[in-house]
Each structure stands twice: as C-alpha cells, then as structure tokens.
C-alpha cells in the first residue's frame, strides 16, 4: 500500500451555519447525494480500497444507515469518531489516528467536489519524493445571488498569495494577505535558487494533501500544531529553505539511500543555470498541482453549495429523474433539473435548473427555478420559488412567493391567504442583529410593500412575522 487515504469529515461547516444547523456538513445533499460521497467517490475512482474517515458520531450513524451510500461506496470505511465538543483541528485528528498510519497519507476534506485527475497530485509527490504535495484550483466567481445576502461577496476578503517556481509545481511561498502588512519578504538565497517566482492570487486550496509519513511523526512530537492548512502546511513550505528541520531524520532506510544514490548519479536536475545538485540539496520539498481547467469546489459556503448543486448533476450520468420518483405527465421538468427518489411532482408544475431531493412532495401549479429543494420537503399549490434553498422537511404553505430565500430545516411557512407573497429567511443565533436586518432589507427590496410579509426563523424556532 503506497498511500493511506484519510477523509476529514468532522468539520462543522461554520461558514454556512444556515444549512448545517440541523444537518451535519458531510450529509448535506449535493445533487441528491450526501456531500461526503464526492470525496469518497474520488478516492474510489482512483482505486483506494480503504479509507479512514474521521468524523462525528452523528455522521457515523448516518453512514451506517444510509442505504444508498452503502451501495454506492464499495471501499472499506474505517470510521473514527471524535468528540464534537473537543474542537479538534485537522492536525489534531491526524495525531489522534497516528497508530493507524503506516505509510504516506493522502488527506482529503469532505467538502471537496472535483473531477481532478488525482494522479497529478500523487505523481508530483512520487516524482520529487516530496514531503507535501497539494491541490489548488482557480477560484470560482459565484455569479448567482446568494439567498439572504444582498450584493456580491464581501469586498474585504483577504487574498491568499501563493508563490510557485517557473514550472508552476514547486510551492515556494504561501501566505495570506492579512499576514503581509509589511509586504512580501524573500531571502535572496531563495531567489537565487528559484530566480523566477510566480506569485498567484485567486487560487483555491482544495484541502487535499499528500503527506509523508514522517510528517505525522512530526505532528506527534509537536503537539502545538493543530491545523493542517493553518499551521502545518505553511510551516512545511517555510522549512524548505531553512537549513535545520526537524521533520526529516537522516535517511536510514536502504531504499532511501538508494534513491539518494540514484539522484547523485543521474544527470537530471530540477533547475537550470547553476551547476549545483538537484533541489540545491534541500531534503524537504513541497509541491502543488494547480488545476487550470476542470471543476473543483469546496462546499464550505452557501454560495459554493448552490454553485456545486448546479454544476454537479452534469458530471454524473444518473438519470435526471430517479426511477422511483412519480412525475405526472402534465408537469414540466427541465433537463437541467434532477428529481430524487420517491418524489411526487404534481400537475402543471414546472421545475427548471433545480434539484429536488428525496421524498419531496411538490403540489400543483408550483414554479421552481434555480432552487435547491432538500429531502422531505412539501411544497403546496401555487408556490413560486426562485433562487432559494429549502432545507430538509420544510413545509411551504400555499401560494408562497419566494425569491432568494433560505428556509431552515423543519420550518413551516404558513399559507397567508390568497395571493399572499411570502418572503422568508432563516437566521440562527450566530447571526448578528445587523445580519438579520440585512435579510429584512432584502425583503423590502424584492417585494411589493403592500402585501409584504416577512418571516424570520430564528434558532430557537420562534417565528417572527413582520408586516410591512
């Protein structure tokens, strides 16, 4: 076994609490499959037979009960549970399972949806005998309006600066703009080794890492490192250029000595110009594969979630309408939509560019465009739903008119009489007051003031109605 796969699925999804309030992030439906299926499928496609899944009890239960997941995923899942409350970082989690790790590892995050040729990343790892190789892709600009958010993304977002060498593979530098107030500083000796450095911003870290076994050992010895992305990776990148590093002990194994010899004897070199040995004698090397094309999403924000739902169905050759779904002939389901199993779609209903989850019921004369309907949702007659996300088991009353709304799981939007126009948003305790107000202001923006009813669903499941 060359690589052991580790799937990190214990994250809470703190950046999209609206969705993960009731459903843990790994189980969020994307294209009618739980999110965790995508990284599992990625690993299975390239031939992994076993994967260590680090997750919470809740997800473990779902994994063992979800029939569909069981039939879809044939790999052996070695599920390791960690307590949710302990607030473990990804590096902590690795340390937690160190006994299970026998070889180099491939760490994947559960929110990664990509069609990358995984061997690209692993080949870099193999070819250069790297300590770390990782995956990045171009950041996607989300063009769609996100429910509950007026306007575009926050402008103040900090960019990540990633420095690679001229081949675009060797990772030389990584920092966030927030840490760079003083400007970028490089030692001249680094520039001498890598005289042409490309600094890229606008890259998305896919959170997929190949790590040497010795890095896990390093983590065991250095308990202060808690997160892979936040601490370990920047540390490794930095350490490439320092003379002292604690990660690698002297090559003791016979195999490594042979590799060393092979490199000394070969005329191959990783750089041009000067005549020094390959890699300038550095033993620690970090590489990155940057996807130029193809799809790569990290479903960690609402916008990414919506975008992923839109794009994902095109990639898998499932029938758009599940055979067990009941769709009457007098309804209109666009080919760009998918309907999950056991759904009921009634007459005169039109569904465009939307996903409808398992066991949802959609009554007559409903119009759904650009929306995500999760599992077990009931939508009564005459609703008009546009650009919204309806979470599990919600009930939408008759005649609701929703634009860019987010309905939390289990919420019930009461019918408001004939022609009532309902705009709803859900917010949880994490939201500040202004955030809630923000939703409301978008209501006013969208609706006819005369009939406007605003429903704000709060964490304690109390429903506020604002009559404007």
């Amino acid at each position: 076994m060359e690589l052991q796969a580790v799937l990190m699925a214990a994250g809470g999804g703190s950046r999209m609490m609206d969705l993960t309030y009731n459903t843990p992030k790994p189980l969020l439906p994307v294209g009618n499959r739980p999110l965790i299926w995508y990284p599992l499928n990625l690993l299975e496609r390239v031939g992994f037979e076993e994967v260590i899944v680090i997750t919470t009890k809740e997800v473990q239960k779902a994994l063992s009960t979800d029939q569909r997941l069981k039939t879809d995923v044939k790999m052996r899942l070695d599920v390791v549970c960690i307590q949710e409350e302990t607030d473990m970082g990804t590096a902590d989690a690795l340390r937690h399972i160190q006994q299970k790790i026998k070889t180099d590892i491939l760490v994947v995050s559960c929110d990664l949806i990509t069609d990358v040729a995984l061997h690209e990343v692993v080949d870099l790892f193999r070819a250069h005998n790297a300590t770390l190789s990782m995956l990045m892709s171009k950041v996607h600009e989300f063009t769609d309006t996100v429910p509950g958010q007026k306007g575009k993304k926050k402008a103040g977002e900090q960019r990540d600066f990633v420095g690679v060498d001229v081949t675009g593979k060797r990772l030389l530098f990584m920092a966030n703009e927030a840490d760079l107030e003083e400007g970028l500083v490089f030692r001249k000796s680094i520039m001498r080794k890598h005289p042409r450095m490309l600094i890229k911003t606008g890259l998305l870290d896919a959170h997929l890492y190949c790590l040497k076994r010795s890095v896990v050992d390093f983590l065991v010895h250095n308990k202060s490192v808690t997160s892979i992305r936040g601490e370990l990776v920047p540390y490794l990148v930095r350490k490439q250029f320092s003379k002292m590093f604690g990660v690698h002990n002297k090559c003791t194994s016979k195999e490594e000595a042979l590799l060393q010899l092979a490199r000394e004897r070969s005329c191959w070199n990783d750089h041009r110009g000067d005549m020094s040995e390959a890699y300038h004698g550095g033993k620690l090397r970090c590489y990155v594969h940057i996807m130029e094309e193809g799809m790569c999403y990290r479903v960690n924000t609402l916008a990414a979630y919506i975008e992923a739902n839109r794009v994902v169905p095109k990639l898998f050759e499932d029938p758009p309408i599940h055979p067990t779904a009941v769709v009457t002939e007098r309804s209109l389901v666009g080919s760009d939509s998918i309907i999950g199993p056991y759904c009921q779609i009634s007459d005169k209903t039109s569904i465009k560019r939307s996903n409808v989850g398992t066991s949802s019921t959609i009554k007559e004369k409903v119009k759904i465009t650009n929306s995500i309907i999760m599992n077990g949702v009931t939508i009564e007659e005459g609703c008009n739903i546009q650009g919204s996300v309806i979470c599990n088991n919600a009930v939408i009353g008759r005649g609701a008119d929703m634009k860019y709304c987010l309905v939390g799981s289990g919420q019930c939007i009461e019918p408001e009489g004939e022609n009532a126009v309902v705009q709803c948003s859900s917010g949880y305790t994490t939201h500040t007051k202004t955030h809630t107000l923000h939703f409301c202001s978008s209501v006013v923006f969208v609706l006819n003031p005369a009939f406007c009813v605003c429903v704000c669903v709060h964490s304690l499941a109390h429903v506020c109605l604002f009559f404007v």
Binding site: G183, L184, V185, R196, L198, I199, T201, G273, D274
Partner: protein
C-alpha cells in the same frame, strides 16, 4: 527654457506621424563612474577595445542593425577622442544608414543631465532607444518596439518606457553581482511593479501596494540581466527635466514606480531569451563579453565579420574559434588551443600556449609564454617565460622576462613590469599615481588650484617601487582591482557618493571652498541638486566616521567643520543633520558610545547648537530602538550637561 516652450505642440505632432518617423537613438558614451579606473584615465571606456574593436562600434552596429536611422552620441569624458574616433569610422561616411551626431559637453555628470539636454534641445521626435556606449548586443528590438507602440496607442501614453532584459539565471556567466536586479512584474501586462538593485541585500522586500494592481498573477524575477537598452518615449526626457534630482536610470525607474499613482506613468519590460545583450559595466563583464564574442554568442557580430569595416582588420576563422588577422606569425611549437583572436602583425615566439585570449595588433610575444584568458591590447611586448592568467594588459605595456600575472591583474597604459616578478591576484598597475588627483575627470568638485601643499607631499612619494613592479618596472600599484568591485556596497546606490567619500577621507576639508564655488557658479537649479545629495553625503560621511577610530574621526570632523557649517545654517538643517545621525547610529548598535563624542565635538565646533540638540532629544521618538538610543547613559549625561551649561549661562547673564 527653450525646451519647455516647444513642449505642448510636440507630443501631439509625434502621435500623428509616429509611423513615418525614423527611429532615433540616444547613445551615452560615458559611464559616469570609475569602474574602469585607471584604464579610463587615458582612454574613454567607449573606445576600449573588445575583441580588437572599440566598444562603441558594437553599440552602433547594434543600433544600426535594429533599424535606427539617427543616433545622438553624448560624450563628456574625453569627448574629443570619441568624436575623432567616430569621424574616422564608417558611421560618419556618407553611405551610412545611421546618421551619427556627436554632442559633447563637459557639464554632463550623469545620465540625467544628458536626457535633460535631449529635452532642452528637442532632439527626439518620437520613441527612441536609449543605450550606453558599452553595450554589446544582437537583440532584435523590433518586437519590443512594436509592443511598446501598441501599449502607447492603447493606453494613451501611460507607458513611457520599455526596458529590455535578457534571461540569465543566477550563476550565469554574463551576470555579475554588481548588476543584480530584482523585479516584480505583472504576469500578464508585463508591467514593472518593483525594481531594485539586489546587490548587498540579504532580504528582498516587496511592498504590499504593488500587488493591488488588480491582477492575480505576479512574477518576481531574479533571473534577468539588464541589457541597458530601453525604448523610451519623448516623455522620458521631459520627466528628467521635471525631476531634476533624477541622476541615473535607477533613480528614474524607482522614482516613476513610487510615484506611479501621482504621475500615472508606467514602465514595461521585454524579456529576450535568445538574443545577446550585455553592458560592459566592469572588468568582470569585460572578460565575459569578450569571451562570448569570441565564442560567437553575439552572432552575426563576430570578429571575422569586420562589421566596423576597419582596414586590415579582416581575419580568418578556423576551428576551435581561432581567429587570425593578417600578418600574424606564430613560432615553432606554439599552440593556439581555443577561443583565440590575434591581431594583425603580431609576432608570437616558440612554444607558447594560448587559450581564451585576445591579442591586439603589433604585439610581440616571446618564447614559452602561457596566456589564458588574457586580454592583450595593441603594441604590447611580452618577453620570454611569461605566464598570464585572466588579466588585462593595455596598450604599449612591456612585460619583461619571467613575469607571472595572476588572476585579475590590470596593467594600464605604458606600464613596464619585471623582470622575474610575480604579481599577486588583483594587482592594478598604472603610470598614474593613485593619489594623483583626477582633476580633469568626471568629478565636479575637485580642481587643482587648492591644497598645493598636499600635492607636494605626494610628489615626493612618486617613485616606482621595485617590489611592486620589478627592478626595471615603471608604474604605481593601485589599491584593489576593479574586477573585485563587488564588495563596494554603496557604489550601486550612489556612484559618485562613494567616490566623493573616499576623496573626503583623503583630503579632509579641501572640499569646502569648492562647494562654495559650486554654489556660486552653477545656476540655482544645480545648486539645489547639490543640496539634495548633500543629505546623503552627511549620512555616508557619518557612517564612515562611526566606523573609523574616534581619534581619526575627531580629526576629520575638525577638517570638515567648515563644510558642515556651510550647510547646517537654519535650525531645520540642524534637525536634519541630527536625524540622519540618529539613523546612522541606529544601524550600528555597538557604536552608540561614540554618539556622544560626535555630538560633543559637533557642539564644540559650533556646528550644532543646544537648542537643536535639545529639540531633537525631546522629539517624540517613534521606534523602540530610537527610544533606547535616547536612554543611552552617555547621552543622558551629555544632555544633562547641556542643560546645566544652559542654565549657568542664563545665570551669568
């Protein structure tokens, strides 16, 4: 200000008939530095032979072949020699496709002066090439020129300059650490965002604001060699006029980048991979470029091409890059191994081994001579059993029997060495005494009418030292070889600052009367510039002062007092002076003890007054370190003493 008057109409006109304008070039046939000293005491750098052809001919050939139709050659140092050379050359023949105008003036002190003159005389009509007279290149500029024009037409003349770089990774032969530069550029538009000389820097710092240009891809490049060829728009000359403190191209580029938001000008770059372009900026580069020329990297500019069309210069090219001009005679058993160029009528004795060497015309070389990487110019006599390794031997030098020249020796014009002496690595010999003042050369502040006593002292010393040049030798030993230039840190920042500084240390206060003269003679414009650089001088002076022993420094300070007094007049000047002093000391923590002594002597010499010092001391210090400095025991005592002195003087009144 004739140039100013004609300005408004010019750019518009240039826009209209840009297409029809013939391409012009400004060739600066002066280096404004002394890297080639003492060789350039007798011959300007542009005329030094490189593979037996003057360097300026290479530059002109490059310009002509790239399509330049009109070249303005600006000379200062030994202008008459350059003019004479050009008048004889093929460039001044009526058939020349490139019309060469020679413009001479003794007042040019820097590239900035030249370009200000270009603007004042309204010489250029549209985009022009700017090169130095020591650039050897075969780069095809046309693509860069086209890109430049395109950028200019698209962006309403925002881009004023396109610099040409050659890709050569660190460790490449054509790179010398002196000219290392680090550039940050926009990956897509090729715009230069940051430009810095990297020599003597350990860490390279890039301010954050350069990454806010809206692009998401940047490149930091340390693998570029500045060819010192730039495509400039006429605005460049105007900008030099507007910013009279710009002296060098470095000033200009950095000034433009820093003030980009204000002035709205941009600089772009063009990188060539396969062309050859290098500036012979020091002897190390001379060595490199010479050997590259012989190895045919600058094709089609090769020795046998005789592109300069000099009579009798035609030579044959044979295997292993051995070139021979007419009339060469080679003794029995002598071997020309590889990369050898031998000038006309040169006679080589028996059993010599010659490799990687250029020998000029009419030389006589004895038997059993070994030459490796030697650059021997014209009419040189080398006796038997001589060994030369990587050295430059100028015209009319005589090397006597049994001499060994180790690496990086320089024998300047007319020197005689030997017999039987071994010159250590890096020896520089010249007929000019190193302390003999370079009155007529490119330093504006020095003239020979002062310090006569000093001069007399020196003439006494003017005896050839047989230990240095051999029993029959003639010549003086100079301190270090210019090949070893790399250690002079400051040189890169401020070329003449360093030189002046050295002279200050030699001559002490000799300068001050001159400065007065400078103030009176030059127009206020230049005088202001002097003051501007003055601040830098103070700083550099103090730096040296701190590093000298205290005895010497107080001596020097006394000599210097008039100079300081001349400039430190207003209270503000005092503060400036103190601020730069503080800066200097902050960099050298170990010398803090000296601060009080320097302050004390400055106070005693009445350069600084109590008010100034107290004001400086009480000023809120911004950094921890400067606060620490202020808490220095000695300084506190000094301040206390000052206060007491003040009080007591008040009481006396």
């Amino acid at each position: 200000m004739a140039g100013k008057a004609g300005k408004p109409s010019r750019p518009r006109k240039a826009d209209k008939d840009e297409e029809e304008q013939p391409l012009q070039a400004v060739l600066v046939a002066d280096s404004f530095n002394r890297r080639f000293f003492p060789i350039t005491k007798d011959q300007p750098r542009a005329l030094l032979p490189l593979a037996n052809v003057s360097m300026i001919d290479y530059t002109l050939e490059f310009l002509t072949s790239t399509g330049v139709q009109e070249t303005f050659v600006f000379c200062c140092w030994m202008a008459s020699k350059i003019k004479e050379h050009l008048q004889k050359s093929k460039w001044c023949r009526p058939t020349s496709p490139n019309v060469v105008h020679v413009i001479t003036s003794d007042l040019y002190r820097s590239l900035g002066d030249v370009l200000r003159d270009v603007d004042a005389k309204t010489l250029v009509r549209s985009d022009f090439l700017l090169v130095y007279g020591d650039v050897v290149s075969n780069i095809d500029i046309s693509q860069a020129l086209q890109e430049h024009k395109q950028r200019r037409s698209m962006d309403k003349n925002v881009s004023v300059m396109t610099m040409i770089f050659k890709e050569s990774p660190p460790g490449h032969k054509t790179r010398c650490e002196d000219d290392d530069i680090i550039i940050a550029m926009d990956g897509k538009s090729k715009r230069i965002l940051h430009y810095q000389r990297a020599q003597a820097l350990k860490r390279l710092h890039f301010p954050m604001n350069i990454f806010h240009s809206g692009s998401d891809e940047f490149e930091i490049r340390f693998d570029l060699l500045d060819c010192h060829i730039s495509i400039c728009s006429p605005q460049v000359a105007e900008l030099f006029t507007d910013n009279f403190d710009y002296q060098t191209k470095n000033d200009f580029v950095r000034g433009l980048l820093v003030n980009e938001e204000i002035l709205g000008n941009q600089i772009h770059m063009h990188v060539t991979k396969d062309g050859y372009g290098a500036r012979v900026s020091n002897l190390l580069m001379y060595d490199t470029v010479s050997s590259d020329t012989i190895r045919r990297w600058v094709y089609p500019i090769t020795p046998e091409a005789n592109f300069a069309d000099l009579e009798g210069q035609s030579c044959t090219h044979s295997r292993h890059n051995v070139y021979r001009e007419t009339g060469v005679s080679l003794g029995h058993g002598s071997q020309m191994e590889e990369n050898v160029l031998i000038g006309r009528n040169t006679m080589i004795g028996a059993n010599c081994t010659i490799s990687n060497t250029v020998i000029g015309a009419n030389c006589v070389i004895g038997d059993n001579v070994t030459l490796d990487r030697a650059y021997i110019w014209n009419r040189v006599h080398i006796a038997d059993d001589v060994k030369v390794k990587q050295s430059v031997i100028c015209d009319n030098v005589e090397v006597k029997h049994g001499v060994v020249l180790n690496e990086q020796c320089v024998l300047a014009y007319n020197v005689v060495v030997g017999p039987d002496i071994t010159l250590p690595e890096g020896t520089v010999l010249s007929m000019h005494h190193p302390d003999e003042e370079d009155d007529e050369d490119d330093d504006e502040f020095l003239s020979d009418d002062n310090d006569v006593g000093y001069r007399k002292d020196k003439t006494k010393l003017k005896v050839f030292n047989p230990a240095e040049v051999g029993s029959e030798g003639k010549g003086y030993r100079w301190k270090t070889s210019s090949l070893e230039d790399t250690e002079e840190d400051e040189l890169a920042e401020c070329i003449w600052g360093e030189i002046l500084l050295n002279q200050f240390l030699y001559h002490g206060g000799k300068l001050f009367s001159n400065l007065d003269k400078v103030m009176l003679e030059y127009n206020p414009h230049i005088a202001f510039r002097t003051v501007w650089t003055w601040k830098r001088y103070i700083k550099m002076y103090l730096k040296t002062l701190v590093e000298q022993s205290l005895y010497v420094s107080s001596q020097l300070l006394k000599k210097w007092a008039p100079v300081f007094k001349n400039y430190v007049k207003r209270p503000q000047d005092q503060l400036d002076c103190l601020a730069s002093m503080e800066e200097v000391f902050l960099e050298r923590e170990t010398h803090w003890a000296a601060l009080v002594k320097v302050l004390m002597s400055m106070y005693q010499l009445e350069i600084l007054e109590e008010e100034g010092i107290m004001h400086w001391f009480n000023q809120g210090s911004t950094t921890d370190k400067s606060q620490q400095l202020r808490r220095n025991q000695g300084l506190l005592k000094f301040i206390q003493w000052l206060q007491e002195a003040e009080e007591s003087s008040e009481e006396d009144e």
